[in-house]
């Protein structure tokens, strides 16, 4: 019976492969746009249901990308700005473990991109230990991740690729095990830590490019809050986390440059130095609360 599949399958594979050669280009033709507009209008007339209960409607970036964005904007390495090394055993609840795994993941990314390999290994070990506690340490075992990390320790580009691969495997694991809320809590930790690093280093040089990056990160906060609210029932601590993050968001929304910003523009908001500092203080306070757990 299975043999009957082989020829059609081979043909299908070849046809599909050949078609892949031609599918890398963008499809921006007027005809495509017109067809899509027609479809959108047609479905609207039929009464399209907007459903989002069963799928994510917002994508969160990886901590590595946030670290990369800050680095590309001129954010330099500053000793002592990352979180103190801790034993994973200090974090008891799943919430604390996930939150701090995010914090240490952000520190790991910051160290890798700034060639701080000794610290990177220490942070990697903490992230691994917290992953074990959260039940998905197995992603580190696949593809000999730790060995490959050690083997490429002097090559930041290779390490960044490995971290990205680890992120993908972790995301898949959490999806398949109905634990996406853990990833969202971890991202909250990573976001706060990244903002803390960005804000602290900004104070040294007051770079406007870092300032615009900080305002871009604030855009993520809105999506993060939406996702946390979606998973509110998954962990009793999530509601408090949303309240904490919303305090920062509410302060940001009151800044004059934010209120007057044209969302249709193609430039980010440039925050004043005073407002970056104000955000920095709020983020630092929240981060202290997280790592004190």
């Amino acid at each position: 019976m299975k043999l009957n599949y082989i020829k059609p399958l081979a043909c299908l594979s070849i046809i599909a492969s050949v078609s892949l050669f031609s599918c890398h280009g963008n499809s921006n033709s007027t005809a495509t746009t017109a067809a899509a507009d027609t479809l959108t209008k047609a479905t609207a007339q039929k009464g399209v249901d907007m459903t989002d209960q069963d799928s994510e409607t917002y994508l969160l970036p990886s901590p590595l990308q946030i670290a990369s964005i800050f680095k590309n904007s001129g954010l330099t390495y500053e000793p002592g700005v990352t979180a103190p090394f801790k034993d994973a055993g200090q974090f008891n609840s799943q919430f604390e473990q996930a939150l701090n795994m995010g914090i240490f993941s952000a520190d790991l990314s910051y160290c890798i991109l700034n060639k701080q390999t000794d610290d990177a290994i220490k942070y990697l070990n903490i992230v691994k230990a917290l992953s074990d506690k959260l039940g998905f340490g197995s992603v580190f075992e696949s593809n000999s991740f730790l060995k490959r990390f050690q083997a490429n320790i002097n090559n930041p580009d290779s390490l960044a690729s490995l971290i990205a691969e680890l992120q993908m495997q972790t995301d898949t694991y959490l999806e398949n095990n109905k634990q996406k809320y853990i990833g969202v809590i971890a991202f909250a930790g990573a976001w706060v830590e990244s903002m803390n690093i960005g804000g602290t280093v900004y104070e040294k040089g007051k770079s406007s490019s870092v300032s615009s990056r900080i305002s871009e990160q604030m855009n993520i906060l809105e999506g993060l809050e939406k996702l946390l609210k979606k998973y509110n029932a998954s962990d009793s601590h999530i509601a408090g986390l949303v309240t904490d993050l919303n305090t920062i968001k509410a302060a940001y929304d009151e800044f004059a440059e934010v209120k007057s910003y044209n969302p249709d523009g193609e430039q980010p908001i440039i925050l004043t130095a005073e407002h970056v500092s104000q955000l920095g203080v709020m983020v630092k306070t929240l981060r202290s609360k997280f790592i004190a757990a």
Binding site: K2, Y5, L9, L12, S13, I15, A16, S17, S19, L20, F21, C23, H24, N26, S27, N28, T32, T33, A35, A36, D37, L39, T40, T43, K46, G47, V48, D49, M50, D52, D54, S55, E56, Y58, L59, L60, P61, S62, L64, Q65, S68, I69, N72, A160, S161, A164, Q167, M168, T172, E175, N176, S212, R213, E216, N219, G223, P263, E266, Q267, P268
Partner: protein, 160 residues
């Protein structure tokens, strides 16, 4: 080119036997995502991924996914339509569905039986991108006893 051909062959060979037996209900997200990852060659790094679960209903549906973007960054969006029911349209816009003046940047659909992976490389800065999945109405024949038509769409995002 040769690498992509081999990867496509492997991918389809892995999925096809299961898909033949299970139609649209087959949704192995790991395999589907891994097949997208094969198109995240250097200089792209994995950033995020999204699974859209689809069940055809009596009425057409739309699901919208928002992706934050950052200035100066180049992104690659890889859509895997293999496990989507036929007729699902995917459109990438610069604004959400509430904006009538939004611009379509890319589109593809799940109807082509021979092409299941689509790639969109961003060209210009947008603070956000919106992915709209337009899901057609299911067949009315068979009433409530008709089997559910389900599937999933996979999106993997990489950055340079």
């Amino acid at each position: 080119m040769i690498k992509h051909t081999i990867l496509a062959l492997l991918f389809l060979t892995m999925l096809a036997p299961s898909a033949i037996g299970q139609s649209y209900e087959y949704c192995d997200t790991k395999t589907l995502k891994d097949s997208c990852k094969n198109y995240l060659d250097h200089p792209y790094h994995y950033d995020a991924s999204n699974i859209i679960l689809v069940t055809l209903e009596k009425k057409a549906q739309m699901k919208e996914v928002e992706i934050p973007m950052f200035i100066g960054e180049s992104y690659r969006l890889i859509f895997n339509t293999y496990a989507l029911p036929a007729g699902v349209e995917i459109h990438v816009y610069n604004k959400d569905a509430d904006h009538s003046n939004r611009k379509e940047l890319f589109s593809c659909n799940s109807s082509d039986a021979t092409k299941k992976i689509y790639i969109y490389d961003t060209e210009h800065y947008h603070s956000k991108l919106f992915i709209d999945y337009l899901i057609p109405a299911g067949h009315s024949e068979g009433g409530d006893s008709a089997p559910l038509v389900q599937g999933c769409g996979v999106l993997v995002v990489g950055y340079k």
